[in-house]
């Protein structure tokens, strides 16, 4: 491990560069990578043996219950045993987005498997087989849609071929249903009975195998309960934190509360003498928050013994290079910057100044200004960061609730100077991701600790550790101007965006805005400028990065302009969309104004936009496009005279193309609504002298059941391929609530969280 004696901004710049690279990797990951993995391993044999090495002992035993049993393994996504057991492997982590169920459904649909009888396992982490294995950017479904369908369809084709050969009939005389091949003459053979014969056939080129038409789907689009729900509701061991290994010990890792501080001295001898403490030592770390910061590890006989010892730990920190960030200072810096033009031009189309400032045109143009801001927030996954690692026989074996196992291998290899082949990661279920676990700092910590002890070690962060050492959603400030023509049409938009930087050059992760930011490409005059404030606070992606904050600003200000124009908000939005067109035809990640207009109309219709309401009760609407999803939301709420808020009803209208699992899709949209409400209502991370001031849920409140509204979700299943739904329903929720508050009270919300403006729940 190399200690880097560089200053904080260099260290944070390196960190931030890593996070940027990661996000590019996540978002840039294309189907081609998965395809390559697929074809490479078409014809791959001995899956049972390979998997037995990685997959949990218990499941490996059952999947390999008879070692003489020949598995039909046409690819890395499934195999069929002669006894009829069909096992499919989910390559991605289950973080609550329902991917294990969705992936299996796609394979089962094309395979014509019996859904109820399917065994569904977590795939081993193996880049050569699966490419990148992680979850981020709502990309899992779009990036794996083709390859998973092909995996099922190729297998089904081989089973049909095996049956046709046996019966000496043509392939087109056969059909399949529920894991059985039928001949038109009435004969039938189960997939299990055909497995040995199918295994002898050459794997055909996936492109030559016909995939089903949508109208043939029997499973996709219906409601399916999550495949591990039985285990969840009976409390079986599933999550990273549930990992138990023989002779395992328990660890905590204490880092400096100010980001980047380094251990100078600690009362190690005192700690070592405490009951239940096995060992205590300092790790220098490599200075990277994404990998291993300096800290003290305590190894104990139980989690509680480790937690208790942690309370006795006294560390003297060298904070000379640590963050000195201060939220109040940031607010002042931002308001100074907002008075000046933006330092850097990101987009400048038409002539914004002419529309906004030109006095001569005052008779035909009205312009409006507003200043918006939002705070840093934390992910607060309910399962705190944790990881179990065991260094044995030259192998670092890791059990991790990560969203990004592929990169964890690279990081641990580099950090501990181990060959990547010597790092084996067991992907566990993940108790909430939200982008937090794209970072693998807790994995690196556990591995570094395990390298020092001879037994398996489970590292558990306390909730306080988790809140103090996140990669926060970056705060931001926007000085906006907009202009209307004399018809009340939006003709110009100017956004001076003030964000943060780690390297002094580019925005910190999560703080980037691009030239095609909505409504950029839709207006004749549009300018986006940017100014940066130096920060030492680690930031990273949080569910719908950028959009989760930008939507609040942009879609609230659009409402302000609609109000100024004395126009109906829905009609104003539809006017901005204009003619139905796809801004980058063929690019699924580009706005399609036709799809946008349709979800806006549907939300307005289902949310009863035009029905009148009693005083104090009102609706608000907002649209936002992010992560390839077009989503509009109508919120109905009441505000009492003393600012008590009740959200009665939320209507979500979304177009993410085909729906894979209706139950899972609705759950993602409902969850995003609750997450958005939670985020905007009371959440705020503030900083003082480089330290986060909130430490647990009593100071950082999550939404609770009494405040959770009814959420109705409506999908338009357009002919487009399915895209992800983990993220895009969150961004429009926040402005829809703010717009409804304005409609109810006349008060415009321009800063979050609402609790700081005096709002409370009824």
């Amino acid at each position: 491990m190399n200690m880097q004696h560089s200053n904080l901004s260099t260290v944070r710049a390196n960190d931030d560069a890593q996070i940027h690279a990661l996000m590019n990797q996540v978002l840039g990951e294309t189907v081609t990578i998965s395809r390559r993995a697929f074809f490479k391993h078409a014809g791959w044999a001995g899956a049972g043996l390979v998997l037995a090495f990685y997959v949990d002992e218990a499941s490996a035993k059952t999947s390999n219950r008879d070692s003489n049993e020949q598995l039909f393994s046409p690819n890395a996504y499934l195999n069929i045993a002669p006894n009829g057991t069909i096992t499919v492997y989910s390559k991605g982590p289950e973080i609550g987005q329902g991917i294990k169920t969705a992936f299996a459904l796609i394979i089962a649909e094309e395979l014509d498997a019996d859904w109820q009888a399917l065994r569904i396992e977590q795939a081993p982490i193996d880049q050569s087989l699966y490419g990148w294995q992680g979850a981020g950017g709502s990309t899992s479904i779009p990036n794996n849609w083709d390859v998973l369908r092909q995996a099922g369809a190729v297998t089904r084709f081989m089973l049909i071929t095996a049956a046709a050969n046996k019966w000496k009939v043509r392939v087109d005389e056969c059909h399949t249903k529920n894991a059985v091949v039928y001949c038109s003459d009435g004969r039938s053979l189960s997939y299990g009975a055909l497995a040995n014969d199918a295994a002898k056939l050459a794997v055909p080129d996936a492109k030559t195998v016909k995939l089903k038409d949508r109208k043939e789907y029997a499973l996709l689009g219906k409601r399916h309960s999550g495949v591990d729900n039985n285990k969840v509701v009976t409390g079986q061991s599933l999550f990273g934190i549930d990992t138990v290994l023989p002779n395992m010990q328990y660890a905590i890792y204490q880092k400096c509360p100010a980001f980047g501080g380094v251990v100078k001295a600690a009362n190690l001898d005192e700690i070592r003498a405490l009951a239940g403490v096995k060992d205590v030592f300092v790790l220098e770390g490599n200075g990277q928050a994404t990998e291993l910061l300096s800290g003290v590890a305590i190894i104990a006989t139980s989690t509680w013994a480790a937690f208790k010892a942690k309370q006795q730990l006294q560390i003297e920190w060298d904070e000379s290079r640590a963050s000195k960030d201060n939220w109040q200072t940031f607010i002042q810096q931002a308001s100074e910057l907002a008075k000046q033009p933006g330092k850097e031009n990101i987009a400048d189309v038409g002539n914004v100044d002419d529309k906004i400032f030109d006095n001569a045109k005052k008779t035909t143009t009205s312009s409006f200004a507003a200043y918006y801001s939002y705070p840093f927030i934390s992910h607060a996954t309910l399962e705190p960061q944790n990881c179990t690692a065991w260094y044995h026989d030259g192998v670092m074996e890791i059990w991790a609730p990560t969203q990004n196992a592929t990169q964890a291998i690279q990081q641990v290899a580099k950090l501990l100077d181990l060959a990547p082949e010597k790092i084996h990661i067991h992907q566990t279920r993940v108790g909430g991701g939200f982008g937090r676990r794209l970072m693998n700092d807790y994995v690196c910590e556990a591995a570094a600790i395990a390298k020092r002890v001879s037994v398996p070690v489970k590292l558990t962060w306390t909730r306080e550790d988790d809140m103090a050492h996140d990669f926060y959603r970056v705060a931001g400030f926007h000085a906006l101007r907009g202009a209307l023509d004399d018809q009340g049409k939006l003709i110009a938009w100017d956004d001076h965006f003030i964000t943060f930087t780690a390297d002094g050059k580019k925005p910190i992760s999560g703080g980037e805005m691009s030239a095609d930011e909505f409504p950029g490409q839709l207006l004749p005059n549009f300018r986006l400028t940017q100014s940066l404030i130096q920060s030492g606070t680690p930031c990273g992606p949080l569910r719908a990065p950028r959009s989760n904050a930008v939507a609040f600003v942009v879609q609230s200000f659009i409402h302000e302009l609609a109000v100024a124009a004395k126009r109906d908000h829905v009609e104003f939005l539809l006017d901005i969309m204009g003619q139905p067109r796809w801004l980058k035809p063929g690019n699924i990640r580009a706005l399609n104004t036709g799809r946008a207009a349709d979800v806006i109309r549907l939300a307005a219709d289902k949310g009863e936009w035009n029905r009148s309401l009693p005083k104090g009760r009102a609706r608000g609407i907002a649209f936002h496009f992010s992560h390839a999803g077009h989503v509009a939301i109508v919120v109905e709420l009441s505000v009492s005279a003393n600012k008590q808020l009740t959200v009665h009803h939320v209507t979500v209208a979304a177009d993410v193309g085909l729906i894979i699992n209706m139950s899972g899709a609705e759950a993602q949209a409902q969850g995003a609504v609750i997450d958005g409400l939670s985020n905007m209502f009371a959440q705020q991370i503030t900083l003082q002298n480089g330290r986060v001031q909130q430490s647990n849920f009593d100071q950082y409140e999550l939404l609770r059941m009494p405040h959770a509204p009814q959420v109705d979700v409506h999908f338009i299943q357009t002919e487009y391929n399915p895209t992800g739904l983990g993220e895009p329903a969150l961004p429009p929720l926040i402005p829809a609530v703010c717009n409804a508050i304005f409609n109810a009270t006349g008060e415009r919300v321009r800063t979050l969280p609402l609790s700081k403006l005096g709002y409370t729940w009824t």
Partner: protein
């Protein structure tokens, strides 16, 4: 050394400090990992178990308090034959879990509610469940699943 009844079985616990929260006794010493750690300060409800039928936050109840008492955890909610409690079944039928981390605690709170109020209103549910955070936002389905389980348990539709 102390003993307590866990899921109907008398269990003796050796060599555990009596101040250890019940949560960690269950998870680390008895291998019952269904009960979860979320906050450690009785704020999130992930660690909810029943102590003599009352829902408690096991992160904030020391072993000394539970000693000699009867504790039910998520692992003990199904009957001896393994038949799921109607709440567990309703949770599956409504596809409640997202990440699932909070759900053991949610179900244990709900089970205690139904013992007290076999046909709870939405308001009863909101009150009884307000100590259980679901970070993934499954509240709507939790409500629906509790109603379903309540009507099944009463034998009325």
């Amino acid at each position: 050394m102390t003993s307590l009844t866990i899921n109907g079985k008398l269990i003796t616990v050796n060599d555990v400090d009596m101040s250890t929260p019940l949560l960690w006794v269950l998870r680390d010493h008895l291998g019952l990992v269904g009960t979860k750690y979320g906050c450690g300060i009785a704020q999130c409800g992930a660690c909810t178990v029943q102590l003599n039928g009352t829902p408690i936050r096991s992160c904030s109840v020391p072993l000394a308090t539970a000693s000699g008492q009867s504790v039910t955890t998520i692992e003990g909610l199904a009957d001896e034959t393994g038949k799921l409690h109607p709440l567990q079944q309703a949770w599956i039928d409504h596809d409640v879990p997202q990440c699932g981390y909070c759900q053991a605690g949610q179900i244990m709170s709900a089970a205690a509610l139904l013992k007290k109020k076999p046909r709870p209103t939405d308001e009863d549910i909101d009150n009884a469940m307000s100590g259980n955070i679901c970070r993934c936002g499954t509240y709507q389905r939790i409500r629906a699943a509790i109603h379903t389980a309540a009507s099944k348990m009463e034998g009325t539709p």
